[in-house]
């Protein structure tokens, strides 16, 4: 479903992605972890070309994201993206946040989009906040609206960039539960997170990044119990000590 082949990316002189090779199959859940600045966000932002890559091949749902000629609107419509900082549209209600893309991109009728929006918001536990503005919602609720916004496009893939890092601890659970629900429903997902419990429960594989390289790829239990590299071990002990 997602295929990186020898992908390289630079910001000026900074080599942020170093010869990345990674295959994510349909229905698979991949968790990406690694120290701050290791290139995790850049990696998943390349998947829908929020960032362009300079070298290599990146194919998503059989569409060549590395190819400048590819119609990215079509690719992006199939990929939901959830940001660390939610990025909800503040001038729109929760419902409007979820319906704008289905109406404008999928050309759905407004009434149909609103029905879908209501259903999806209900699914993420926000039935009674449908007409609230983002500023009237808690962080956890905002992030669930953001997830619903992605889901309303009926995407094949969901990408999450540290979806719980900006949340107060008591709200992390509700957001992780929502993401777990999707994982169990068979959604293809790449999740950047340091939540090890979450990774153990739903991830098929953990990708450990450091300094622009993919250093280890392993099933979560293998990686967390028995990291193969020094850098992986050092990283695990650093997050465990928090």
């Amino acid at each position: 479903m997602i295929s990186f082949k020898n992908v390289n990316k630079w910001y000026g002189d900074l080599h942020v992605l170093n010869n990345i090779n990674l295959e994510v199959d349909a229905g698979e859940v991949v968790v990406v972890c690694g120290p701050s600045g290791s290139g995790k966000s850049t990696l998943i932002r390349c998947i829908n070309r929020l960032e362009p890559i300079q070298e290599g091949e990146l194919v998503v749902d059989n569409m060549a994201v590395h190819d400048k000629k590819t119609n990215m609107t079509k690719v992006r419509a199939e990929i939901g993206f959830v940001f660390q900082s939610f990025n909800l549209y503040p001038h729109m209600t929760a419902l409007q946040n979820t319906t704008i893309a289905p109406i404008k991109v999928r050309k759905m009728k407004k009434a149909d989009a609103e029905e879908l929006g209501r259903e999806t918001l209900t699914r993420v536990g926000l039935k009674d906040r449908i007409n609230s503005y983002p500023a009237q919602l808690s962080g956890g609720q905002q992030q669930r609206v953001a997830i619903a916004r992605g889901l309303c496009m009926n995407p094949k893939i969901m990408l999450f960039d540290e979806p719980t890092s900006a949340l107060d601890p008591e709200m992390i659970g509700e957001v992780l539960d929502t993401i777990k629900m999707l994982a169990k429903g068979g959604m293809t997902m790449v999740v950047v997170t340091h939540e090890m419990g979450f990774a153990r429960e739903v991830a098929n594989r953990v990708v450990f990044m450091d300094d622009g390289y993919i250093v280890e790829v392993a099933p979560p239990n293998d990686f967390f119990r028995n990291a193969q590299t020094e850098r992986g071990k050092a990283f695990l002990s650093s997050i465990l000590s928090h």
């Binding site: 609107t73 992006r76 990025n87 549209y89 001038h91 704008i100 404008k104 991109v105 496009m153």
Partner: protein, 222 residues
């Protein structure tokens, strides 16, 4: 003597009203044109095309860095030299439109750039086109920042329109000049001139203040 002149002044009120009408016409047309051109240029100024951005930047600097009187003279006296014949009214509207557009351009560009980058990223990620992003995500949010100074700019442009009297447009100021030659009570005559400008601007000043408060409240609520 004073009451005689006052009486005379009252008798020239219809003449002043013609001036008011002229000021409203010049400023009104210029503000409509200036707003349209200013928004288009402001959107491009905050856009991705580097060449457009630079060209618009130079234009804005030139317009802002030269006296308005000089700009009017160039348009009215120098353009005919290269074959563009303009009456005073057209020259006035073009000059004031150009001036207003340059300021509005900067206000709009500033408003667009004040919208957090994540808003565009979220819209891009969901597949919205550049046009839809601008129309539904960026501009509505930018308008919060744009509206109060935009209305403030309208007030400034109305006041700046008095400069067009220099090329013979018979606006409020020009009527004042004519009248003061008959009624040599400068304070009285130009007091009236000032009052008439104030009467036009005052509702806008209030609107600007109202928008400012309202936008602040909305920013806090949203």
């Amino acid at each position: 003597m004073w009451s005689f002149y006052f009486h005379e002044l009252m008798r020239s009120l219809p003449f002043f009203m013609k001036g008011v009408w002229m000021t409203v016409a010049v400023a009104g047309l210029s503000l409509i044109a200036g707003t349209i051109i200013g928004f288009i240029c402001g959107i491009m100024r905050a856009g991705r095309n580097k060449i457009l951005r630079a060209v618009i930047g130079v234009w804005v600097d030139i317009v802002r860095g030269t006296p308005f009187l000089v700009q009017i003279f160039i348009i009215f006296f120098i353009l005919p030299g290269i074959g563009i014949e303009l009456d005073a009214f057209s020259a006035a509207v073009i000059a004031l439109s150009n001036l207003s557009a340059s300021f509005i351009c900067e206000i709009v560009a500033g408003g667009i750039l004040s919208v957090p980058k994540g808003q565009r990223e979220a819209a891009t990620a969901s597949g919205l086109s550049q046009y839809h992003q601008l129309r539904f995500i960026v501009l509505p949010q930018a308008m919060r920042t744009v509206l109060p100074p935009l209305v403030g700019q309208y007030v400034l442009s109305i006041k700046d329109s008095s400069v067009v009297s220099a090329i013979g447009v018979v606006d409020i100021t020009r009527v004042g000049w004519f009248t003061v030659q008959r009624i040599p009570e400068g304070i009285m005559v130009f007091g009236l001139v000032g009052l008439l400008y104030f009467a036009i601007c005052y509702p806008l000043i209030n609107l600007s203040g109202y928008l400012e408060r309202r936008m602040t409240v909305m920013t806090i609520r949203l």
